[in-house]
């Protein structure tokens, strides 16, 4: 192969590959999420942040921080009166009936099938401002992340009306025990 043909071949190849290379490079900063933080959507409630705004959520130094571009909002964990995940809500509402529904399917497939019902989780917070006013915030996040954030918030001084023990107790209802036997 002559040098000219080689050059044409390399140039052609680079033209074909370049969109993929630039696309992958462009995606790299978007993927980079600092360790311990979660990509979420703020559904409603944070002062100064529009509804349905995507951003990064971090729990550190006794506060919950939400950031989107230059917009930032912070809530002190000590001011949080209630932290509830979507799963907590379902347990409280559906309780035993919900568990029966899940267990009715054979070989635990109900629980497996339930994963397809929703790939997103919610985290709901109630907190007080400096004047004692009650606020509520809702975040939507990938499934399983809400429980992790809830644990972090509780460890840093937040309170909840659905503690982990209560959640576990409702999950291990008598019907659940019977099914296991």
């Amino acid at each position: 192969m002559s040098v000219g043909r080689k050059r044409i071949w390399i140039a052609g190849l680079s033209v074909v590959i370049s969109p993929f290379v630039s696309a992958s490079l462009a995606q790299e900063p978007a993927r980079a999420v600092p360790e311990g933080s979660v990509k979420v959507v703020q559904i409603t409630g944070l002062t100064g942040i529009k509804k349905n705004t995507g951003g990064i959520l971090v729990v550190e130094s006794g506060s919950l921080r939400f950031s989107h571009a230059e917009m930032k909002a912070e809530v002190a964990t000590a001011s949080m009166e209630d932290v509830i995940t979507g799963a907590d809500s379902q347990r409280v509402i559906h309780g035993t009936l919900g568990s029966i529904g899940l267990l009715a399917a054979p070989y635990g497939s109900g629980r497996f099938l339930s994963l397809f019902r929703s790939k997103l989780d919610t985290l709901t917070l109630k907190y007080r401002d400096a004047n004692g006013g009650l606020h509520g915030v809702i975040f939507r996040m990938p499934l399983g992340k809400a429980e992790v954030i809830k644990k972090e918030l509780l460890a840093q001084g937040a309170r909840t009306t659905v503690p982990e023990e209560a959640a576990n107790a409702s999950a291990q209802s008598p019907t659940a025990k019977e099914q296991k036997q």
Binding site: I43, T44, G45, D82, I84, G86, D88, S89, Q90, V92, I93, T122, T124, K126, R128, D129, N131, G132, G133, L134, H135, G136, V137, I138
Partner: protein, 172 residues
């Protein structure tokens, strides 16, 4: 021919009486507004009907936002100490009467099934707890939007009721 003319005349007379002078009719339908310079929104109560936490919060936050949009200069949250100093304060209590959680995917596919609806009992009272206005309001999402859009619908309707019945200046 006479019969037709007679029918047309009677119909015209009836129509004009029904329509009436426009200004007068508008005055008739307008309720006399109660003086309220500030409104305090209490957290949504759902003791008998279990409501997911995200719906409760969404109802509360949407109510506050919609009331602010409707021109209420002072909208206080539950527990706000500044509300105690406010003159002509109206307190809004909302209790869940019914809740049906629909399905967004089902709505999009069928357009007739999967609607979400929330029925609420709203009481506007004065500082001493005397009821000034009571209304049952329903929020729905039938076609487009997530389940939480029902809370926006409820808030918008409730804010409109508040706007129609309360004003910083009495009687206007």
């Amino acid at each position: 021919m006479k019969k037709i003319l007679w029918t047309v005349m009677v119909a015209a007379t009836l129509l004009t009486q029904l329509a009436g002078p426009p200004a007068l009719r508008a005055q008739e339908s307008k309720p006399v507004k109660i003086k309220a310079s500030a409104i305090k929104v209490e957290m949504i109560q759902s003791d008998e009907i279990k409501l997911p936490a995200e719906f409760q919060i969404s109802l509360y936050e949407d109510l506050i936002q919609q009331l602010q949009k409707k021109g209420f200069a002072q909208v206080y949250r539950q527990g706000d100490r500044n509300a105690e100093k406010a003159a002509d304060l109206v307190v809004l209590h909302s209790t869940v009467l019914g809740f049906k959680k629909g399905n967004e995917e089902l709505r999009e596919v069928t357009t007739v099934a999967g609607a979400t609806s929330i029925r609420m009992h709203c009481t506007f009272s004065d500082k001493d707890g005397k009821a000034l206005l009571v209304a049952d309001v329903t929020g729905k999402v039938r076609f487009l939007g997530g389940n939480l859009r029902a809370t926006y619908d409820f808030a918008k309707r409730t804010a409109q009721i508040a706007h129609d019945h309360f004003s910083p200046v009495a009687g206007t």
